[in-house]
């Protein structure tokens, strides 16, 4: 509550891009060192990156959905439900008219879910979490019913849609190839970077491009346009926004509907996933919730949520591709990270934080030392565990929109 300025307001802070670049560089170096020292080359292989991209895409869309809604001040825990609606809509439109129709179908059905959430939370002021939970329930019910009704006659299976044609994949050819050759030379750091980059440049689908493009687009729209400014003002101080002529209710509706549309797009990404026939009951598997977690992890910012989904997709990709041994290798990386943080904090004279980091590093190393592999039961949930740990460490530095989840009624400000 203290109104006292915390530092000199005349000086803006360190540019974001500097921090982003250093964090990414540090991450790559840590992974490279880990891969070299533990022999778990899968940690930085092109295949792992591709798997990570595949797995992070639906989460990224859901996270972006969360961003749009929560920046407008509406908590959206109904992302899961909207995503389920999106998978169904994508399959229904997709098997009839092809992949682009599937994308549209997912968006439309997700947006409908978002509209419902907006009606409940903005117009009727229902508690946002309550409404979100109800919409998830409804989304599951509606899709099951509709699948029984519309898919079963064609696919002979009420839980699955007929086959939906997917996008063809493509690679950024000459670059991807030369990266592959560098990767295969197994040179420390160079090969790791080549592997990580190579995965990003091959096996692409239009949805991957859309997903990655939406991160800067969301940033530009939300932070660099008048529309975005108005939308964010509804999440920060709707009363002030209203006093300046912003149609808060409209903006909240727009934000939540876009949120639903993005979650639906995430559903479409699942339906059109290479390796998928189409809609499959239960295929979201909680990815909507994870998208929300990724967004919180990313401090309600597009770049941050990309990092959150990437972390999630990466750890999941590593554990699925290379199993418990690779997750075990990640423990080694975590040790390096903890020690590095401890050093940084010592340099900044933050003794307590440094001590905690050092102890954490020691504990993680202890675990690493005492076991050979992480049991599959835990490796499978490593992403969730990592998310929980990161939140435990960093959650107090997070900065949600100030008016998030609060009731807002027109003309009630003073």
């Amino acid at each position: 509550m203290s109104a006292a300025p915390q530092s000199d307001p005349r000086r803006p802070r360190i540019p974001t891009w500097v921090r982003v670049v250093s964090v990414v560089a540090a991450g790559v170096v840590i992974l490279s060192v880990t891969a070299t020292l533990t022999g778990q080359y899968q940690l930085t292989s092109r295949g792992t990156t591709q798997a990570a991209v595949l797995l992070l895409l639906p989460i990224l869309f859901a996270g972006l959905g969360g961003l749009w809604s929560e920046r407008a001040g509406v908590i959206n825990i109904g992302l899961e439900g909207m995503m389920i609606l999106g998978t169904w809509g994508a399959a229904w439109a997709g098997y009839q008219w092809g992949p682009w129709a599937a994308v549209l179908g997912g968006i439309v059905l997700g947006a409908l879910g978002g509209l419902l959430h907006a009606v409940a939370t903005v117009t009727f002021n229902v508690n946002h979490i309550v409404s979100g939970v109800a919409i998830t329930l409804l989304g599951m019910g509606v899709t099951k019913y509709l699948s029984t009704l519309l898919f079963e006659p064609i696919s002979q299976n009420p839980r699955q849609s007929p086959r939906v044609e997917a996008f063809n994949t493509f690679s950024v050819q000459p670059v991807a190839d030369s990266l592959a050759s560098v990767e295969s030379q197994q040179r420390v750091l160079l090969s790791d970077v080549a592997g990580l980059l190579g995965g990003l440049l091959s096996g692409l689908t239009p949805l991957v491009i859309i997903g990655f493009a939406l991160v800067p687009i969301s940033y530009l729209v939300l932070w660099r346009t008048r529309f975005g400014l108005r939308l964010r003002s509804c999440g920060e101080n709707p009363v002030a926004a209203e006093s300046l002529g912003v149609k808060v209710v409209t903006y909240k509706y727009v934000g939540v509907v876009i949120s639903g549309a993005l979650a639906g797009l995430g559903g479409a990404a699942l339906t059109l996933n290479p390796g998928q026939l189409g809609y499959l009951e239960g295929q979201t598997g909680g990815r909507g919730y994870i998208g929300l977690a990724a967004m919180i992890f990313g401090n309600w910012r597009p770049g941050g949520l990309l990092a959150g989904s990437a972390l999630f997709g990466y750890v999941d990709g590593v554990q699925l591709r290379a199993g418990g041994e690779a997750v075990h290798g990640l423990l080694y990386g975590a040790t390096i990270l903890a020690v590095g943080l401890a050093v940084v904090w010592v340099a900044r004279r933050r003794w307590r934080a440094a001590l905690i980091a050092a102890v954490a590093g020691a504990v993680v190393y202890g675990v690493y030392y005492s076991i050979d592999t992480v049991p599959r039961e835990f490796a499978a949930y490593a992403p969730q565990l990592v998310t929980l740990l990161v939140l435990a460490v960093a959650s107090q530095r997070l900065r949600p929109p100030a008016a998030i989840g609060l009731e807002y009624r027109r003309g009630e400000g003073d």
Binding site: A51, E152, Q160, L189, P274, G282, G285, R321, V344
Partner: protein, 383 residues
Amino acid sequence: MRIRRGFVLAAAVLTSALVVVGCARDTGTTQPAGGGGTNAGACARNSAPPAPAGGAASAAPAQPNADASGLKVGVAFDIGGRGDASFNDAAGAGLDRAISQLGLAKANTKELTAGPNESEDAAATRLRQLVSDGYNPIIAVGFKYATALKTVATESPNTKFAIVDDSSVDLPNVTPLVFAEEQGSFLVGVAAALKTQTCKIGFVGGVEQPLIQKFQAGYVQGAKAVAPNIQVDVDYLTPAGDFTGFSDPAKGQVVATGQLDSGADVIYHAAGASGQGVFQAVKAAGKSAIGVDSDQYNIPGLADVKDVIITSMLKRVDVAVFDYLNAAAAGNLSTLPKTFDLKVDGVGYATSGGKVDDIAAQLDAYKAAIISGAIKVGTAPTS
């Protein structure tokens, strides 16, 4: 001040990192990526076992068709029901065959399907509905019915029941229809070992539970029987209790791609609907896959990936259901085998597509050895 210190630190770290850049790694261990063959040439293969005395394997004598027109048959499917392209469908096929061959009236059959995550009493209610509507016999598809069936069968001693995939209900009016999945898996393991160019094959299980581990055990044993030094990558999508592993093709694709990247070129899946992802991954890499439960080469939904399916491990739930109905119609259930195994064609492998025709002789030799008892197939993974 603080920033500068940060920069200095970062610079120090970067410089030291750059020093090691360019140092080649000591690549003594497995090479990732690129599908580079590890020890392709060194995949020593044993010869097929000699044909056992008594000649080729002979199927158990088939029972003559009985007249089932008097039966009223109820079927309680597991989650998914008809259309799952798996054991529910197979059970349905068995019922359909009974309708066409045994004179069973379609009107005298009833099918109900379980919902996901339902409680035991819902399963029991489903069985009771069939009992109270006068269906007899009643077939429960899936081991999840075991507990409910125990209750309902005790209540209704005059109704005959059969349960697929479970042998734990010990009641006089309950007939277990269980399969030697490990035997069928052994044979496709043999096929995989014979087909691999890289001496490395993969297994993708949906959920790490005993039933799926039987598939894994037989597959690995079969592969090792052919090529003792073969590498088998075994991965599961989710641990026991998390059934999303059977319905997450995205994960199936990632896992299969991982195995392919590390050099495996034949992948056998026992992952339900997630298998779609496995097939897609295999197709993208131009390698081979092995299907499960039914002849997946012929499943319409998988038409565009069927060219990579070299064979499928068949679990003939249809045979079991048909045989059971036949025996029930004849009034003599004692003719049914304790386990539907290779001997009674309860399990087997598919030949559609002709991709295993060239190794049919070896496969038949192993099949005969298993039937004769010369090879015993374990049901639990050894490691």
